[in-house]
């Protein structure tokens, strides 16, 4: 087993690493007994570190016996505990529009299965009221941080890989559902404690369990008391895993799917093959035996149910009177263009740079991440760190703000090259921000943290991926950039990137300044609406069938547009 994987699982570590490439250097472990290291480790580790017996955990596979015999210690700076306090991160999309609720009895759960985060709402089906929210890190991250790595896992371990992905996911869903449903049990306990013998009647009304003999009433109770419907909004790969359909073909061109239509699963079908959950567990008061799991429809392998949710929730279909660009930025970015209701969509391989991977000091937007950097009038600087304490790295918005400051203060030229510090006058304030070590230049952010030339290049590639996809889809529609009325940015990740930083660095056009609106977790809100209303479900069907998929692969111009999008400039035609 991979040593880093073992460490992550057994120490509840935040899986914030570079996917075993040996480029981030965060998984340093000190071994008491010397072992052989490979060329990747020799490149990243210093001579002193190697002499001390330090290795990169991701570069070694051991048997369980070997691990048990190892005497090792972890480097704190690289490993942080899994701080899954994601409650605050779910953003709701403003006002959930008026929908015609079916008014079913009992409870429902609306789930958004993201590649990184799973979020769910417990809902009273009759009133539509959201009773409780819950979110957690998708435990599939142990098989890969991005969706392609997980598909690779399934391909590489052809016997068991898919099963591992599925049972991990379904197992986690089950645990989260049980926990979220216990909300009502907690309420019952509270009520029982408040009530005296004389107030038994009130106790019944407060929801405490009835003590009745009637079998019919028992079933009615169960229906009133159990989860009868679940809706799942997810990307196409996650949706396939939920439906127990193979995902390997989506990892390779032409990315064919096993299905794109909406699906309904029974209780048995949902838990099919998941040996980690026993039959007994399933029926204990939580899930109805007549449970219906509704999986939202997809458009294509890379435009999933979560994007259809986004289209629905943001109202850009049908009678939309405007031209709206809808973007969900992640390791895979999805872009939808609504030309007064006429929908087209594309996806791009943004890559994980904005999430910290392959960047020397890159990290996710969590405690210790520099999220903003500003150079002051007097030549000094200011940084903003998430959590307010000592900075340990730079997250996506931090990286972009550094580049923005760098370009506007002429530390970095428009082509992305850091200027030659040796050519600057002695008094030039820029000297404080540029480091050159053996011909390699970097932007100095703090004494210990910097953004290297190579890091900037990675960011340029991610920038180019998004910008070029946006440009292609707009050009294909016949619209001009100024004709775009609004740009909706969805998702947890996108919400961290401010309009200023996106437009100043040129990721989004200057024409979009003042037009950007953050719409939050539209996948979750779409799942919510889908759960409650047949009418909504019909709308989803129509939407999913009406989106034209724009393929970047076959476009001749793509290489030129991609190349041009690498430059940092504000106007697309500059």
């Amino acid at each position: 087993m991979n040593f880093l994987k073992y460490i992550i699982e057994n120490n509840n570590i935040n899986p914030d690493f570079c996917n075993k490439r040996g480029s981030c250097g965060r998984c340093k472990v000190k071994l008491k007994d010397r072992i052989d290291i490979n060329s990747v480790e020799k490149e990243i580790l210093s001579k002193e570190e190697i002499d001390e017996g330090i290795i990169l955990a991701c570069q070694h596979d051991f048997t369980m016996d070997e691990i048990n015999r190892l005497d090792y210690s972890l480097f704190e700076e690289g490993f942080s505990k899994n701080d899954v306090d994601n409650e605050g991160i779910i953003l709701d999309f403003g006002k959930l529009s008026d929908i015609k609720i079916d008014k079913n009895v009992g409870y429902g759960i609306a789930i958004d299965i993201g590649t990184t985060t799973i979020s769910m709402y417990l809902i009273d089906l009759y009133s539509g009221k959201i009773l409780k929210k819950k979110s957690a890190l998708n435990s599939q991250v142990r098989y890969g941080l991005d969706v392609f790595s997980r598909i690779s896992h399934s391909i590489e371990y052809s016997e068991n890989g898919f099963y591992e992905l599925r049972s991990t996911l379904i197992g986690q869903l089950y645990e989260m559902i049980v926990e979220i449903k216990n909300y009502k049990k907690d309420m019952d306990k509270e009520n029982i404690n408040k009530i005296t013998k004389e107030n038994k009647e009130e106790a019944f009304e407060a929801g405490a369990e009835k003590n009745t003999e009637s079998k019919i009433e028992k079933i009615e109770d169960r229906r009133n008391d159990s989860i009868n419907f679940i809706s799942i909004s997810a990307n196409c790969i996650m949706s396939h895993i939920v439906c127990n359909e193979k995902i390997d073909s989506m990892g390779k061109f032409p990315y064919s799917t096993k299905f794109t239509s909406s699906k309904i699963l029974s209780l048995r079908e949902l838990f099919e093959g998941c040996d980690n959950i026993s039959d007994g567990d399933l029926l204990k008061d939580t899930l109805s035996k007549d449970l219906k799991v509704m999986v939202l429809p997809q458009v294509s392998a890379f435009i999933g149910g979560d994007v259809v949710s986004g289209i629905y929730s943001s109202g850009i279909y049908n009678n939309c009177k405007y031209n709206i660009l809808f973007i969900d930025i992640g390791t895979n970015g999805e872009i939808v263009l609504s030309k007064r209701g006429r929908l087209s969509a594309t996806s791009c391989a943004t890559g994980p740079a904005f999430e910290g991977m392959n960047i020397k000091f890159g990290m996710r937007a969590s405690s210790g991440a520099i999220e903003n950097f500003k150079i002051e009038e007097n030549g000094g600087y200011k940084i903003k760190v998430i959590g307010g304490k000592d900075p340990r790295g730079i997250c996506g918005s931090g990286m972009l703000s550094i580049i923005r400051e760098g370009v506007s203060h002429h530390l970095i030229n428009k082509m992305g090259r850091i200027v030659d510090v040796n050519k600057l006058a002695k008094s030039d304030f820029r000297k404080n921000f540029i480091r050159e070590e053996g011909k390699k230049r970097s932007i100095k952010v703090t004494e210990d943290i910097f953004l290297s030339q190579a890091d900037i290049r990675q960011i340029q590639l991610s920038k180019a991926a998004i910008s070029s996809a946006v440009r292609m889809i707009i050009e294909k529609s016949g619209l001009n950039f100024p004709e775009i009325d609004r740009v909706f940015i969805a998702g947890q990740f996108g919400s961290h990137l401010s309009e200023d930083v996106l437009v100043d660095t040129g990721i989004l056009s200057e024409d979009f300044r003042g037009k950007i609106i953050y719409v939050g977790n539209t996948s979750q809100s779409g799942a919510y609406s889908y759960l409650l209303s047949q009418e909504v479900r019909e709308d989803f069907e129509k939407i999913s069938k009406s989106v034209e998929v724009v393929n970047l692969v076959n476009s001749e111009d793509y290489e030129k547009i991609f190349r041009d999008s690498m430059f940092f400039r504000r106007k697309i035609d500059e």
């Binding site: 598909i151 590489e156 990892g251 390779k252 061109f253 391989a349 992305g416 011909k439 190579a454």
Partner: protein, 217 residues
């Protein structure tokens, strides 16, 4: 050398380095009208410029976009000059042949295109199979072109094992020794290249040429 010729060659080289794809055509026409050798114009002007650009890439001064722009200029110049090469002139004969393509299931070819440019600049004959290349096609093409080198690229972790498959098939057919195999791409590492039995790995287009050359010395 005629001073005038030397000056013109430097200007042509500068046009490539400075990504002047418009100016360069006129300059090359002027060069020919002066009666200078088209071959020298290509080798000491255009290719020289591209090599200088490659050096700037090595020094981190230039990146992918700049190399692509420089190559645009270079190819514009080649279009003009090659018409003036002597009729019986065949530059192709002594060249090493490299088969190049993006592995089956992957369509990300910008990196591979850049490798092709650098190889052509360095004097290789490149047979570009394009993207999403069926695994057997790498082999069939290598055989029919009597290639020296097979270069495979992949950006995705889901398709990279196709490279191993190609090498395995070469082994099965008993022809592995006939070709050098080099691999590269976003998800490829030195370790991976060794593991699958490739002869070499390169991390970018500029390095690829140096590595390839070292395989043949």
């Amino acid at each position: 050398m005629d001073l005038n010729k030397k000056i013109m060659l430097e200007k042509i080289s500068d046009c490539v380095v400075d990504m002047e794809d418009e100016e360069i055509s006129d300059l090359c026409v002027e060069y020919i009208e002066n009666g200078f050798s088209a071959y020298d114009g290509i080798m000491d002007g255009l290719v020289d410029g591209m090599n200088r650009a490659a050096k700037l890439y090595d020094e981190e001064e230039y990146y992918i976009a700049e190399l692509l722009l420089c190559s645009d200029a270079m190819y514009k110049g080649i279009e003009v000059l090659k018409k003036h090469l002597p009729e019986d002139f065949s530059i192709e004969d002594d060249k090493r042949v490299a088969i190049m393509g993006v592995v089956e299931g992957d369509t990300h070819d910008i990196g591979k295109n850049l490798v092709k440019i650098m190889f052509e600049t360095a004097g290789y004959k490149v047979v570009d199979l394009g993207k999403d290349v069926l695994l057997d096609r790498f082999i069939e093409s290598a055989i029919s072109e009597d290639a020296d080198l097979i270069c495979m690229s992949s950006l995705m972790s889901t398709t990279m094992y196709g490279m191993k498959e190609v090498i395995d098939r070469l082994n099965e057919r008993g022809i592995r020794h006939r070709f050098k195999v080099m691999v590269g791409g976003g998800t490829i590492t030195e370790e991976f290249a060794k593991k699958i039995g490739a002869d070499a790995y390169s991390k970018n287009a500029v390095e690829a040429v140096k590595v390839a050359n070292s395989l043949f010395t």
